[in-house]
């Protein structure tokens, strides 16, 4: 009784899922009973919160291929992710990546999630499985590491990007050019609403968003900003016309954002 009250008062996640999380991610099996038994130590709050964040991102990524997923569920999971990220930002555990103190930062993270959802929804089912396998490996490495909170934060955020990059690598660039551009248009939308006409303005404002764009465009896994100029040039040349012409249709493309949420 007392223990239950304790669980009430502190925002501790219930302990059982931590042990079961790996199994569930990989096997997808239901095993509540198995996870209950034998939990001795309560993992740290930060680790639990991180696991919850990862689990939520996985949920958003596992898109149904044929049937539109539940918008209510997606919104609730996205709100949970946002809540965790805001708390982590306040805690200062989100220091690996430059964060602005506004909500813009969390939106950007959400953008990553959205783009991930879109890309994984666009590719064929066969390709999806290997990508998920990549994600699993990274996740496993994270868990196995004797990592500090910031490390695990970074690698957890990396993991979705790894999924993203392997996704991009596997896809035929020719086939997916249309989707590519559409996704990038949405990045424009979320980064700055001021002047979608000007590609330069967009790029001048971002710092951590740079990082997102970078990894998505080039599939780079490193944390450096070296390839920016190269990717920028290829980027602007290929999408210049697209962005200009899509200015007005961007408003129409807002429905694509619905699709992203819906697909997640």
């Amino acid at each position: 009784m007392g223990e239950e009250e304790g669980l009430h008062q502190t925002p501790f996640l219930d302990t059982m899922f931590v042990r079961g999380l790996k199994r569930k991610c990989f096997d997808g099996e239901e095993d509540i009973e198995g996870t209950l038994a034998g939990i001795k130590a309560i993992p740290s709050y930060n680790l639990q919160r991180q696991s919850l964040l990862d689990m939520s991102l996985v949920k958003l990524q596992l898109c149904h291929m044929l049937v539109e997923p539940n918008l209510c569920r997606s919104v609730l999971i996205a709100n949970t992710v946002r809540q965790i990220q805001e708390e982590m930002t306040q805690d200062g555990t989100w220091q690996m990546i430059n964060t602005q103190s506004t909500g813009q930062a969390s939106l950007d993270r959400l953008v990553s999630t959205d783009i991930l959802c879109r890309s994984s929804r666009d590719q064929a089912e066969g390709k999806h499985v290997p990508a998920y396998g990549t994600f699993n490996k990274d996740f496993e490495n994270d868990q196995a590491q004797d990592s500090s909170d910031t490390m695990s934060t970074a690698s957890a955020v990396q993991a979705p990007r790894n999924l993203q990059s392997s996704v991009w690598e596997m896809e035929n660039p020719q086939e997916n050019k249309g989707n590519f551009q559409k996704s990038l248009d949405q990045i424009f939308e979320t980064l700055e609403n001021k002047s979608p006409n000007s590609v330069e303005d967009l790029f001048s404002e971002v710092d951590n968003s740079y990082y997102d764009l970078d990894t998505m465009l080039t599939g780079m896994m490193s944390n450096t900003k070296m390839g920016h100029c190269d990717s920028l040039e290829t980027f602007s040349s290929s999408t210049n016309t697209a962005s200009n012409s899509n200015c007005k249709s961007d408003l129409n493309d807002l429905d694509h954002i619905v699709e992203i949420l819906v697909e997640s």
Partner: protein
């Protein structure tokens, strides 16, 4: 009504508890449940003589109560199949490359105005008005066609006769009379017939539309919560219902645990609510799952119209529509799950949408839980019961034994521990006869009917 002395409680006072006995169970027995057979909605009609169920395969099955015979006045009527038809078919949206599920999300009956029965059934995108009519006579002796329906040659007609009506075996026909389509971009979660019996509303995740039953090519949008920038979307509509008496009033609930009451006389677009119902959050129980478990899965007005009931993940709340700042009653359905929320989030059970219902006199409310348990709460006592819909207790007139979930360490006999609950056996849909104590409980692919024990 049987008088039951509660253990350790007041023996023979004015309180008399309803004892439920098994009446019938419908559906296949075998362990392998076909996805299409999973019941997705249950609804009695206004008299309670008809009970409609919809399933994931898009079918509607209507049961009719057998009339009590004079020779056995005390025996209650059983419900037998009256009509079965395919309401919705799976469709494919070519623009989005997505399938539209044929699962029936809701059925709502129209009040009966002539010999035929009418109901509205909806899937994610399309609402249909069905007419269910009986035919027990057949015309014979046509002049222009044979008995088997073939046209006769005109020169063969040598004399004229008047066709006569002959009795035939009762045939129940279901025919679609209206199809209300292409009005919802998002998934329809609710339909509600207005008390004017001429209009109805349909609600999806972001919009509510008002229809006239006779007009299919146009509907009026009365609520729109879609943000200009979808990135800012944080709240969706989860349920909506018209007031049972005031045809200008309706409510809708949200994923953030709020209810808005709107008056259609005030504006054409009811984005501004007339009343806003929200219970302040208890800061001591705040967790990452607080918002998810506060999301309202069902809202139902009482028959009187004075109260409304909302169901969120762990509780049922009764609101007085004249008081917005907190509910008047809160009932915990399965509080023992509060410490398991993370696991339930992981296996997606936390997103299960349970429904709730009132009895005819608004004195008792009912809702479902896991392990095929369902709960009734008597408001005046207050007294609550946990019952189970299972094949084991499915003997005719067998009295349902109350169940108990063990929340402390020591498990008593006949109690069930939280860990042994089967979360795949969930009772999401229940219905209560509008006038009598007969309840219909949908347990996956089986429909259980229970009635009050009669001495």
């Amino acid at each position: 009504m049987a008088v039951v002395a509660r253990a350790g409680g007041d023996g023979g006072g004015s309180s008399s508890e309803v004892q439920w006995c098994f009446l019938q169970v419908k559906g296949a027995i075998d362990e392998d449940v076909a996805e299409a057979d999973i019941i997705s909605t249950v609804e009695f009609n206004y008299t309670g003589d008809l009970l409609a169920t919809g399933d994931k395969g898009g079918r509607v099955v209507i049961f009719q109560r057998e009339q009590e015979t004079k020779s056995r006045p005390l025996s209650r009527g059983e419900y037998n199949v009256y009509s079965t038809f395919q309401s919705h078919e799976p469709e494919f949206d070519y623009l989005k490359s997505l399938e539209i599920e044929e699962k029936i999300n809701k059925i709502r009956w129209l009040p009966q105005q002539n010999a035929a029965h009418f109901l509205l059934s909806t899937n994610d995108k399309t609402i249909k008005l069905w007419k269910i009519s009986e035919r027990d006579k057949r015309a014979e002796g046509y002049n222009l066609k044979d008995e088997d329906g073939r046209l006769r040659e005109p020169f063969r007609v040598t004399e004229l006769r008047v066709p006569t009506l002959k009795p035939m075996d009762l045939m129940v026909e279901a025919s679609p009379r209206r199809t209300f389509a292409n009005a919802h971009t998002y998934h329809i979660n609710s339909i509600s017939v207005n008390s004017d019996y001429a209009t109805y509303l349909s609600a999806d995740d972001l919009r509510i539309n008002l229809w006239h039953l006779e007009v299919t090519n146009r509907s009026f949008n009365i609520v729109d919560i879609k943000p200009a920038n979808m990135e800012e979307l944080t709240e969706v509509i989860t349920a909506a219902e018209f007031h049972p008496h005031h045809c200008n009033v309706f409510v809708y609930s949200s994923s953030k645990g709020t209810i808005r009451l709107c008056d259609m006389r005030s504006a054409a677009l009811c984005d501004q609510h007339s009343k806003f119902f929200e219970e302040p959050e208890d800061p001591s129980s705040r967790s990452f799952f607080s918002e998810i478990i506060s999301s309202i899965s069902d809202v139902k007005f009482s028959h009187s119209g004075r109260y409304m009931m909302t169901r969120d993940y762990l509780s049922v709340k009764v609101w007085d529509i004249n008081m917005e700042n907190r509910p008047v009653e809160t009932y915990q359905v399965h509080e023992y799950l509060r410490s398991k929320l993370c696991s339930l989030y992981e296996n997606d059970c936390i997103f299960d949408k349970f429904e709730c219902c009132w009895n005819g006199s608004d004195s008792t409310i009912m809702t479902g839980s896991y392990n095929n348990f369902f709960r009734t709460f008597e408001r005046n006592m207050p007294r609550d019961t946990t019952l189970e819909a299972s094949r084991e207790s499915s003997k005719p007139r067998a009295i349902l034994k109350p169940r108990k979930v063990c929340t402390t360490g020591k498990r008593k006999k006949d109690e069930i521990t939280v860990d042994s609950l089967d979360f795949n056996k969930k009772i999401l849909h229940t219905a209560w006869h509008p006038m009598e104590n007969i309840i219909a409980v949908a347990a996956t692919n089986n429909l259980y009917l229970f009635q009050e024990k009669v001495n």
